[in-house]
């Protein structure tokens, strides 16, 4: 099966550092270093590790190859998505006069916001 190998040779050092950190995954602290020292320049633009995003994309059997740029854009879009859903959920927390975002705030946001319709029924 053609995997996302050809276009991502430059990311190999990133993948390497991710594998090293896998043992530390239980603790959250280690993950932040992945996009830092391993690959300068472009990777600093994305907070999410491109290797992990790529791995997620690869689970789709219909996807054969993805350019580095496409992986980057999806990572960036996911960042924007997280920001957006957090802010939308906050509205409901504030309505409930709470300062802590809770799961139900998320559920409310998903129900109310059209763009989040794809999430319905997908979360545990």
């Amino acid at each position: 099966m053609a995997a996302l190998v050809s276009s991502t040779e430059q990311e190999s050092d990133r993948c390497g550092s991710e594998e090293e950190n896998r043992g530390v995954e239980a603790g959250d602290g280690g993950q932040q270093q992945q996009t830092g020292p391993a690959a300068p320049g472009g990777s600093r633009l994305s907070k999410l590790p491109l290797a992990r995003i790529k791995a997620l994309m690869k689970t789709d059997p219909d996807v054969s190859l993805a350019s580095q740029e496409s992986v980057f854009i999806i990572a960036k879009a996911t960042e924007l998505f997280v920001e957006m859903i957090a802010k939308d959920a906050l509205v409901y927390a504030q309505q409930g006069k709470r300062k802590t975002l809770q799961r139900k705030d998320l559920d409310n946001a998903i129900e109310a916001v059209d763009e989040f319709a794809f999430l319905e029924g997908t979360l545990d």
Binding site: S7, Q10, E25, D28, G29, Q31, Q32, Q34, P40, G41, G42, S43, R44, L45, K47, L48, P49, R52, I53, A55, L56, M57, K58, T59, D60, V63, S64, L65, A66, S67, Q68, E69, S70, F72, I73, I74, K76, A77, T78, E79, L80, F81, V82, M84, I85, A86, K87, L90, A93, T100, L101, Q102, R103, L106, E115, F118, L119, T122, L123, D124
Partner: protein, 148 residues
């Protein structure tokens, strides 16, 4: 290495950081909410990928590219993402160009070094006094003979 979507989560620390930076100070996020957002983010990646892939297939390409992803964002009604994504892509492309040039330079330097190494060892000896140089050359030859 077949990993299922369920096994692949985005790093907790990064998700938490993105959430915290999006929300005003003093707001907290429960563990369950954080977990749900992380899960939602993974679903988002899969949905966006699938959508983008459809555009690629329509264009009879096997490789997903940036344009496919942008088209997917529109399709998914996330037009608000298009501007910031395009801007980020520009910066990313420049960064990639710089990286390529740097790695090419490094490769060239490596090749130069490999060639120079033989000459360099000779140069070091030539830098000393002539007398010592002659002596060293003699001893070198002597050593060579011994080795042989």
């Amino acid at each position: 290495m077949a990993e299922k979507p369920e096994d692949l989560n985005l790093p907790n620390a990064v998700i938490t950081r993105i959430i915290k930076e999006a929300l005003p100070d003093g707001v907290n996020v429960s563990k369950e909410a954080r977990r749900a957002i992380s899960q939602a983010a993974s679903v988002f990646v899969l949905y966006a990928t699938s959508c983008a892939n459809n555009f690629a297939l329509k264009a009879k390409r096997k490789t997903l590219n940036a344009a496919d992803v942008l088209a997917a964002m529109e399709e998914m009604e996330f037009e608000r993402f298009l501007e910031p994504l395009r801007a980020a892509l520009e910066v990313y492309k420049k960064g990639q160009k710089g990286k390529k040039e740097v790695s090419e330079q490094k490769r060239k330097e490596k090749e130069k070094k490999a060639d120079c190494e033989h000459e360099k060892s000779k140069e070091d000896e030539e830098g000393e006094d002539e007398e010592e140089q002659r002596m060293e050359e003699e001893t070198e030859e002597g050593e060579e003979e011994v080795e042989n």
